[in-house]
Amino acid sequence: MVTIHINGKAVQAEDGEMLLTTIRRQGIDIPALCHHDAVEPCGSCRLCMVEITKKEWNGWSRHVTSCLYPVEAELIIATHTPYLQELRQTIIELYMARSPHSEVIQKMAGEYGITQTRFQTVPDGDNCIMCYACTRICAELGCFAISAAERGHDKVISGPLREAPVDCVGCLSCAQICPTHFIEWTDDDTGRTIWERRFELLACKKCGKKTITKDFAEYQSRKRNLPMSYFDICDDCKRMELSKTMGRIVVSAEEATQ
């Protein structure tokens, strides 16, 4: 544990944890789009910037992405200086130009009182802000199914060679983690579609409720040594089975003592 100072308040923090974690633990709200606890930080959205200094820096300060900056003893941090607010507003305006139709960006702009962007809007700009949360979570999973393809303006997230990702197991983690809800998927009676791939959804052998994709169950089974039989029935039916099994034990114990 080390002591740091956030907005004038002395705070205890875990040595080496990222500043953003400490700041958020204090209940201080700073925007962050590309951060998620389940993936390695990458500092791409720049929204989580804070000002840091130390006593011995003789009045000098730095602006750093807090999601990527490890805590050090005696850091002095400011999270909402006028300069930082201006910086965040500029970044939000850039995102408004990049993704003019994103509700998440619009909401964030609203919170900062921004009504229009001073940058030239990409009229058909999609909602992908290139934060790589999706590729990072897929890597965490060990699938590495998606990555960035092409360069510059044409850069997109997709499977290798801009084709449907062969290594995708259809778990939806990428779609769930995407901060701007850009990644689309659909579930219907016959299966799931994501990244232009079609997946079979497992159906509970008792009640028919759809659970996860067959590929994802097989992936867990292979990587984590879970028997495929664990995926035979759904959670509702499993709880009913648990009640019945325990019930049987109770009944036979009662009979034995009579």
Binding site: I137, F231, S243
Partner: protein, 136 residues
Amino acid sequence: MKYRFIVEPWLCTGCRTCELACAFSHARNLKPGRSRIYPLAHAKDKYVPVTCLQCDDPACVKSCFFNALRRNEETGAIELDLGRCVKCMACVAACPFGCALVDEVHDEIVKCDLCQGDPACAHFCPSKALRYTRLP
């Protein structure tokens, strides 16, 4: 593990007090959470309070690729770190007892956390079918 959660189904009357206690003690934004425990009838008027067994070799922990599920060695509970959860449903599908649950109201995955060592359900169970006791 110093403590153990004990369920004695033959004492359960199916009154569902545990369910209320759980839902309210896990409330957020003034909305009760999905209860992590509830009595299920296996025969007429015979109930088993069904909840997470905090397995020694937990399938949910194995199934989570993001380390969102970890054992609290103090309480013995397997706790879900919501910050790391991406709702991939792996644990919900993998738990052999169906005790990783989807809370539709809060749009979250939930499971029994033994209330950080003071389970509300055991506290309120009027027939003492649920107990949380220190191991000798």
